[in-house]
Amino acid sequence: MNLLDIRNLSIELDTPNGRILAVDRVSLSIKEGEIRGLVGESGSGKSLLAQAIIGVLEDKWHVHADRFHWRGIDLLRLSIDERRTLLCRDIAMIFQEPMSCLDPTTLIGAQLSEAIDTSQLSGYFWQRNKQRKKEVIKLLHKVGIKNHSQCISSYPHQLTEAICQRVMIAIALAGRPMLLIADEPTAAMESTNQGQIFRLLANLNQLKNMSILLISHDLENITHWTNTITVMYSGQFVEAGTTEQIFNKPMHPYTRALVDSSTKANLQLPAKSRLMTLPGSIPILQHLPIGCRLGPRCPRAQQTCVSAPKVSNFHGHKVSCHFPILRETVKKQPLKDKPVKGTN
């Protein structure tokens, strides 16, 4: 069953020069117990999409959707308060820089116990404090912090970044969510710590059957951890499918370029040879191209690309392109070898 089902979600921004369509009809669905990757470069609207899902966008952003279902409940019909209580209970989010998201003036223990809802505790009010403390320690153990007493009585700046991110995950787990949205959880972290955080998320997914929406700007980093991937480019939906489909048989020219430009996926390339790359740079929000926004940079662009393409579905592999790369055309081009999944 689909946990989250979003169809044609658009986000508009009010500016002095009129409204700008920042996210243009993006669809996203998350099944129960899967890890879905959401990949896009900076300015692709992936963080906006995540914030729109949990409803923390400011008033100047306007969100529309054709369908917005959470476990079969149509959220668009609910009032804002009802929607908020429902999503608060079931969805949690962790952010990019754990150091800046934790309160620097409060002890870690206090911040954690704040996140525990009273309804989870049982017993009389004089027993609550003790239970809360026990619960905090349990949460810390869950995210792999063994030295709980030292962690509880320290401030965020006294801990390393990886531990802070673990504390953030613990706070997110306090509400026992069904879906965890991780917005670049390992940005600016060194690779050994990155591995630890990803392994922790994978464990939580396996043991607790928690679904995870993993947001990242780099395709090559997350392919090892995800079941399915959605790719976005400058606010538009590009491609969605299983990790193998996206990585081994990319159909959209943009995904193809991402995979080809990755140094990790192309280990068969001789060192110091030129990498495949798209010309130009990412368009800024004020000057978005019409139609398919990849148009000016796309090697396969033709006249029809000035109108936005429809999403076509090839056996669950959805792609939004007028001229998708099908398998036959890949074979004709011996220069572009099929990338070996060298990371596994």
Binding site: E41, S191, E220, S261, K264, L267, K272, R274, L278, I282
Partner: protein
Amino acid sequence: MSVLLEVKEISKSYKLKGYWYHKREFNALAPVSFTIKAKKTLAIVGENGSGKSTLAKILVGAETPTRGKIYLNGQLLQSQSFKQRCQQIRMIFQDSGTTLNPSLTIQQLLDEPLTLNTDLEEKQRRQLIRMTLQKVGLLGDHMNFYPHMFSGGQKQRISLARAIILQPQVIILDEALAALDPSLRSQMINLLLDLQEQMGLAYILISHNLGIVRHFSDDVLVMSHGEVVESGKTLEVMRNPQHKVTQKLMMSQNFKLK
């Protein structure tokens, strides 16, 4: 090919607070030696706090080494003579957005190293700035712009232009590719490789990303806690990692060379 840069037994230690008769020292860098030839790239990998950035700072002259000597083209580099060093060894930082002065135009930014280090006339300097901007894939007219008018990838190109404008021999890339988006990163890698071919530059690449290290470098130094634990040709080290730190690093990125 002759050796361009030779580093001999460089070490750095900081004095820590302590009592008069048992002073403590913190060794940020144990004695390190290596050599680089022209048109070659040396990669330095390691965890945080392994001394990579200290090494880079010593090479560029921002820190003085406690012991050891650096030779450039066989000549000893004095730790005080910045004039010589500025021209030959340049550095690019990770976050290009914060390393460019926001109140200066690109022309003024690139003019600074020229006025300080060369005797060129204003017209010649202008010409050189225009040429350098074109070399890094920007337009000559971009020199009248301010840094905030550029995107992240373009800012990194401007930092590169500032690094190569004095025709240096060594460029140090301190995580210069980490903060870029993937499609811009591959553009930047291509550009750096082209410049290496054209100008005969030697690069010292400090990076976490083993994929880039594999693609970009000829030799590699693996550092841990201020010491070099493994060094050699990149491909040989990655095919057959000997030290535990190297193995751990490759494990954590699921990186395996066949």
